[in-house]
């Protein structure tokens, strides 16, 4: 398993308990740190048209506003109501983080509706493409921000990750054991495919009759 990944459950818990003012201070520091590590990314962001994007993790009490283009980039929490952005990206925190780090293809999440985009699609596309030009490892950036305690913190995080992965795998295995009906499923799938073929053939024949009927109507006129 990938050890340099930010443990999402931990992040989720942390983000839920950290007061908003502290959170804003942290995001400010994070952006500043990232500017040092990824100068190219911020140059590219500055090349874009000015825009604000609301990032809405569906499993968090906060929304974030990312401002970029034609000036400095900023990230802060959004006021609860009455704030309008050019576009919004909604999804689980994990999906959004995977997206940021380029682990997962955003079009795929879009096809499967894991993330939902509203507002000015062009803004989101520009942001996505610009982020994807850069290798971002959020965990590295965050631990770099922690200074001297970064190494011990990293070790804890890696251990948490391993633990979470272990739990996930055993739950998955248990689930599969409990519901292993592979044999039945194959038979059912085959039956389904056969029926679909049959329906298709019937529809096809019906269509031919319909056309014949239409033609007779037309010539009767």
């Amino acid at each position: 398993m990938d050890e340099s990944r930010l443990p999402v459950p931990l992040a989720r818990v942390a983000l839920r308990v950290i007061p908003e003012s502290v959170l804003n201070r942290l995001t400010y520091l994070l952006i500043r740190r990232m500017q040092k590590i990824h100068p190219g990314l911020f140059q590219n962001l500055a090349r874009l048209d000015a825009a604000t994007v609301c990032i809405e993790p569906s499993d968090l009490p906060y929304r974030f506003v990312l401002k970029f283009g034609q000036g400095p980039t900023s990230l802060r929490t959004a006021p609860r109501a009455g704030y309008s952005c050019d576009a919004a990206v909604k999804g689980k925190l994990e999906s959004l983080l995977n997206l940021l780090e380029g682990r997962i293809d955003s079009d795929m999440m879009f096809f499967s509706r894991e993330i939902i985009i509203t507002g000015d699609t062009a803004v989101v596309v520009a942001l996505r493409n610009t982020l994807d030009r850069e290798e971002i490892r959020l965990l590295d950036d965050i631990s770099a921000m922690c200074g001297p305690v970064s190494n011990p913190a990293r070790k804890v995080i890696v251990r948490v990750n391993k633990f979470m992965d272990h739990i996930k795998t055993s739950m998955k295995n248990a689930h599969e054991r409990r519901y292993s009906r592979d044999a039945d499923e194959t038979a059912a799938k085959l039956e389904c495919a056969r029926l679909q073929e049959e329906i298709k053939a019937l529809k096809f024949r019906l269509a031919k009759f319909e056309v014949r009927g239409k033609r007779m109507d037309a010539s009767a006129l």
Binding site: D105, M108, S112, R113, L127
Partner: protein, 331 residues
Amino acid sequence: MRSSYLELVCPAGTPAALHAAVAAGADTVYCGFRDCTNARNYPGLNFDMDEMIAGVTYAHEHGCKVLVTINTFPRAGQEKSWHQAVDNAAIAGADAIILADIGLLDYATRSHPGLRRHLSVQASAANALSILFYREHFDIKRVVLPRVLSIEDVASLIQQTEMETEVFAFGSVGPMSEGRCFLSSYMTGLSPTHEGVCAPASHVVYQDDNHCIKSCLGSVTLNKFSKDEPAAYPTPCKGRYEANGRTSYLFEEPIGLNAVDILPQLKAAGVTALKIEGRQRSRAYVSKVVGTFRKALDDLAAGTQTHGSGDLKTMAEGGRETSGAYKKGWR
């Protein structure tokens, strides 16, 4: 040697994607400049001149070729930018350029006779006569075949022309003859043939409409779908329409093209190269799809069984796959 080896041609929308493609086992990558001279002119995508030079250098150091795509049609009075792109590709050290416009092919042939020319899918050369025309007039070395042909058609074309061919192996199912489809400009006023963008994001709007999502291109409603229904790209040919009293995906379903299961047939047909589409996709997509095809091609070369396409399904448009026009009955 070449005839028994299928070359894997991979998309690089950004320098990061180029690195990912090289790492995943691409034989060749293709990319474009950051302007309307290529058919994937999306915001934030593509290469400026410095990035192009660095990209070509990096690829060459790793034994990988670079094709530069200049496959839109220059607008009257503005041909200079397209000529510049051809010149820049030559300066950057590209191994070939991919072109579609007759005037631009003529320019490249006269100005850079030594730079290999490939015929883009946008030129829609779907028969032997057309291919011979482009070869006789512009000495093209390879043709990218339109996605409207069956495997039998492809084999017959190769036999008739003895031309190097590149065919689409993964990406979109393009139901229309490419380079000659004006549906997107009909709905938005922006032309893919000149601007290099079909269904420009600036004109795409998703509306959350009570348990249902509505996708619009400009003022035209393309589709309404429930929240758990798979989505397609918001292009006019992937919308739902009502005709003859029925509402359906009249042109094409939300489905992606995947030819991984028919690689042996493509090889037998005499295809030179396989093209993975997706310069607009992320580097995660590039790694995954290129990696899968690399393995499948290596298995094919070694004579071992290819393991199905199961793992690419999530990457495909609409989360579903087809072998498209390659198999008869599609049309």
